[in-house]
Amino acid sequence: MKEKLDENFVKSLVLIAQGIAKGKCDPYDLVNGAMEYLIKNKEKYMDHPNLKALAVLKMKGLFIDDIRKSKNFTSLTDEDGKEMEINDEQQMDMVEKMEVSSEAKKVLKIIKSMGEKCQEILMLAADQMSMQEMQEITGVKSLGTVLSRLSNCRKELKGLLTA
């Protein structure tokens, strides 16, 4: 086992889940699901070199499953094959229920109003991940794409916060 399995590990997952969960999907459900998956496959993955990345990928899978179930989708792409944006007012209610500072709530609400890719990468950045880790989790092919995505999303975030 390379990763230290302590509360910080789980809290990182909670943070990243905020960038993955949307609509009726509760971030804590995603973390619970990922933890259950790790427990179920403990012998297979206990010495995995990046358990956090594995858990995050599982959370993304769970999110897609959840959306498919709740929206009765068979696919998450539109007719042109582009990724669908799923927005739901309920995610804002979840932010309100969180016991975090009002400043954090404001930032989180703004992030949740942004595009999916920005939501994901900004929450990974909030977890202080390196570019390489972000690349692994997002599945983006080049490090340059990760850098430019993050730089654009941060610019957008700053613009929304000062607007």
Binding site: M1, L5, V14, Y28, K42, E103, I111, K155, K158
Partner: protein
């Protein structure tokens, strides 16, 4: 033209050393880049504070319990990355022992199990001699579950392929952290290619005061493709701060 990503990396302190000077100068001389640099610094702080704020929340009990279960698993299943295969190295010196054992058992004993005790002679060069002792079965007429031929071939199978040095080296790294009843793996495979699980049965002191460990193969081990399963236990004792294999117990 300086790329915006370079400004972001400069603000985050992740820009390679050799690029810092040029980017720093560009920021100093260009008000637009200076503003961008400040914006990136601020967004870094905002994201950092957001992360800290979310992480400061108490975890729900359901997640705490799952974390506990995962950690218990981690303690129980300790794997060593460096793999080796139980049946990959032929030890020539043990072939003679196997042959001797075969003759020994053909000589008249029915046995239930066999124990081989290794005794370090202390001769320079680290040579060891191996003492063999077969436990006499009370009822000589009833071999229990294993014929003499099977037993001798089991012995030869273990010693023919067992890489003792590798085993002792790998297990030494973890054995002191294990508690009695703990299970662990060494990427060691049996004759059928199945990963072997071990259990630390007990820690004890030998008659001469050495710290020793008794390790059992969990369940029966297939020593060859035709073997239905053999119970194997190993005893290791610490001598001069190094564990040494002192005995192997084999039974059906």
């Amino acid at each position: 033209m300086i790329d915006e990503t370079k400004i972001m990396q400069y603000a985050d302190g992740t820009l390679p050393e050799e690029e810092k000077e040029a980017v720093g100068k560009a920021i100093e001389s260009n008000p637009e880049l200076k503003k961008l640099f400040k914006d990136y610094q601020e967004s870094a702080d905002i994201l950092f504070n957001l992360g800290q704020s979310i992480k400061s929340q108490t975890l729900p009990n359901s997640l705490k319990e799952k974390l506990k279960v995962l950690n218990e698993t981690q303690e129980k299943v300790i794997k060593i990355k460096k793999p080796f295969t139980f049946f990959n190295i032929f030890k020539v010196q043990y072939a003679g022992i196997a042959a001797a054992l075969t003759l020994f058992f053909y000589g008249g004993f029915y046995t239930q199990g066999v124990m081989m005790a290794k005794k370090n002679t202390g001769i320079t060069g680290g040579k060891t001699e191996i003492q063999m002792a077969a436990k006499k079965e009370k009822n000589k007429l009833k071999p229990v579950g294993q014929s003499k031929n099977d037993l001798s071939s089991s012995v030869s199978n273990v010693y023919k392929f067992f890489n003792e040095e590798q085993f002792v080296s790998d297990v030494s790294g973890i054995i002191d952290d294990l508690k009695e009843g703990d299970e662990f793996e060494l990427s060691l495979k049996d004759g059928a290619g199945t990963l072997i699980k071990f259990i630390l049965v007990k820690s004890y002191q030998s008659n001469n005061g050495l710290e020793c460990k008794n390790i059992a193969f969990k369940g029966k081990t297939k020593l060859s493709r035709s073997d239905l399963g053999t119970n194997i236990e190993l005893d290791l004792c610490k001598r001069n701060n190094k564990y040494q294999l002192v005995s192997i117990n084999i039974s059906k």
